[in-house]
Symmetry: C2
């Protein structure tokens, strides 16, 4: 006797991990340098040296018992203060420490937000393409997933389709910009249109429709693009964030929820999110990492290396004839499958030890995700294979 | 619009934290040494020095990128191997790395287990007194809480009452030994009776009834008492564990789920628990701490200091006339309220800056929990107040 849905979530592994595992097996056979693994969004740049040094400093200057003790469930006040100051410095956002709740990464932040917002028969709208795990997160709190998009060829937000999808049961629209998997950054214009639509629909249905902004890639933007801080455009935005990408700490599980004080029912929503987190077993975020962030919240990733990878791959693939939206953020390209069948193309690529993830599970068949958080040489050496694949598109 | 139940969980703070917060406010007024705070189970002994040294070692001998990367969702294999070896060394338990799943502490481990086991209309039985948070954990996965006990005056398990409470909807009995809040260790005899009862009831209803063993205090036993490793008595036991108490790392959030290979439907249950964890936003346990545990799984806490506290407090209170079960584990005494009214007694104690937690929220009115993970001098200096309170029981 066990929960069938949970069993399926446990058995149907993420396709990304499956292809990556195939890649690891291949590496053992043909050599690591002969497998071009563009599957997993694990940062390829290490965390800034200051982060590891800060751990050493904390071990020296703080009593061990204090370092490793429980903090409040919301998180150490000084860590929340440092995060608020950093956000306010960059976005003039009016963030207060009491608007923040530190979490074990963005994923539990997101499920806590969804658990706090979802009432019976709630619907949450995803905009394709979207991060595959959003589906179990939404269904896991008992809400229904509705999908709109993609908005081809620019991968912004298809407003007319979204307008049709919103009903009185819609509690939130999940927004991820810079986007995984498309690498696209939603323009300020897009977000302003979204804000206007949700404001209008909120009035029509008599309750706020929140944007849930999943922002782990907020700091990873290139070539002068800007990732708009969404609460500044639409106050009913609840943000979840992670230091996984921006500080290259994916395994360490530190992130936060931010509920703006100007959001509708701000304190009640904050309480409901805290309560949902509590029932899921949230006690506090890892305490050593809270202390690190209280000293390192202002640090930024090594964008130059990612940007160098991006330019090489984007310019080369474009020259070969691949089509894709302009990648301005995160560390992904989203290419249209030559020939139209992404699964078949991924299969052919796999035979050449070039590993790409078909877009189907991101809600976007016919496209493939290419993670460029890899070694520069891996990209260089993979280019002849990309060329061969598009020339023999069959 | 927000989830009302989640809102209540967020607003109705744990009474333990509320009294502790009052204590912190009082400390600012009358001085820290004049507040006798026996409320929170935060370890008072620091983690062994080897743990902090191991962090330094890892930072020196392992590439930064590898330290902080995602592990598999189940956890780094070498960490799981070290845990399995330690358990097998002590309990001859036949644990395999693939039976373990590392989690962000025991609480998310427990909610993942409950989420994996609970089907529609499931019931989970708690044995009073129990850790207060079990109620939101069970209700959070949509199951119903049924409470049996307490089994006075020894605080073992009331078998006849338990037998009556089990129905065809019972999926699990939650067992916590050494027990929070009673400090009692369930005897091997108690657990064997429990195993026999659940085996019989499982046959009667045609499906296994699991023991969910919440074991953060497993290593904290005194005076020759032994905490039985429950899977050795009843194979349908799913264990959740945390290093919060045994390595004094409560803030760092490292624990695990153990599904014995000999449990009924072992692999399906493991998959369902993994799936439930995935939908709650579990990605992996903090990676630096996984690496620490792969080197430190064999370390044990400083039991001598806790035992010294325990002896002083237990012997002194007994001599004054307080009644309580024999405290053989964890770091709690559970005293019967002189006069019978625990809330009134806690109130009178609070006026003397002596902070105790009434047993009501633990499912056991008329008793009070006393955490002895405090400074030895705090206990010494509190004794006259305990004496005065029982003498003027009014």
């Amino acid at each position: 006797m066990y929960d069938q849905k949970a069993y399926e979530w446990g058995m149907n592994k993420c396709i990304i991990r499956e292809i990556a595992e195939y890649g690891n097996a291949q590496k053992a056979i043909v050599g690591e340098e002969n497998v071009y693994d563009f599957t997993i969004g694990n940062p390829s740049m290490p965390t800034p040296a200051e982060v590891d040094q800060t751990i050493r400093d904390i071990l020296s200057d703080t009593p061990s018992l204090a370092i490793h003790s429980y903090t409040s469930a919301a998180g150490d006040y000084s860590a929340r203060k440092a995060i608020a100051e950093d956000l306010n410095h960059r976005f003039s956002a009016g963030v207060r420490p009491e608007d923040l709740m530190l979490t074990c990464g963005a994923a539990p932040a997101l499920t806590a937000i969804l658990g706090g917002l979802a009432v019976e028969n709630s619907e949450v709208i995803l905009i394709a393409p979207f991060f595959t795990e959003y589906v179990p997160y939404v269904e896991g709190v008992g809400a229904r997933v509705k999908i709109v998009g993609p908005d081809l060829p620019d991968f912004q937000i298809p407003m007319a389709q979204l307008e049709e999808a919103i009903t009185e049961r819609t509690v939130a629209v999940l927004v991820n910009s810079p986007n995984n998997p498309s690498g696209v950054v939603y323009t300020k214009e897009t977000l302003e249109k979204l804000a206007a639509l949700l404001t209008e629909k909120g009035k029509q249905f008599g309750h706020p429709i929140y944007i849930v902004a999943d922002e782990p890639y907020r700091e990873l933007v290139y070539g002068g693009a800007e990732a708009t801080f969404i609460p500044n455009v639409y106050p009913n935005t609840i943000v979840c964030y992670s230091y996984s990408k921006s500080l290259s700490l994916p395994g360490e599980r530190l992130g936060y929820v931010y509920v703006p004080s100007q959001a509708a029912d701000s304190r009640e929503i904050y309480a409901a999110i805290s309560g949902a987190a509590r029932a899921k077993g949230h006690i506090c975020a890892p305490s050593l990492w809270q202390r690190v962030i209280s000293r390192c919240a202002h640090l930024r990733p090594d964008l130059e290396s990612y940007d160098k990878n991006r330019s090489l791959l984007y310019e080369s693939l474009k020259a070969m004839g691949y089509e894709m939206p302009k990648p301005e953020g995160a560390f992904y390209l989203f290419i249209k499958a030559p020939g139209g069948d992404a699964l078949a193309f991924a299969q052919r690529a796999m035979e050449e030890n070039l590993l790409l993830v078909p877009g189907d599970d991101f809600g976007c068949p016919g496209y493939l995700r290419v993670c460029y958080c890899v070694k520069y040489e891996t990209i260089e050496r993979s280019l002849p294979i990309f060329k061969q694949l598009i020339e023999n598109r069959a």
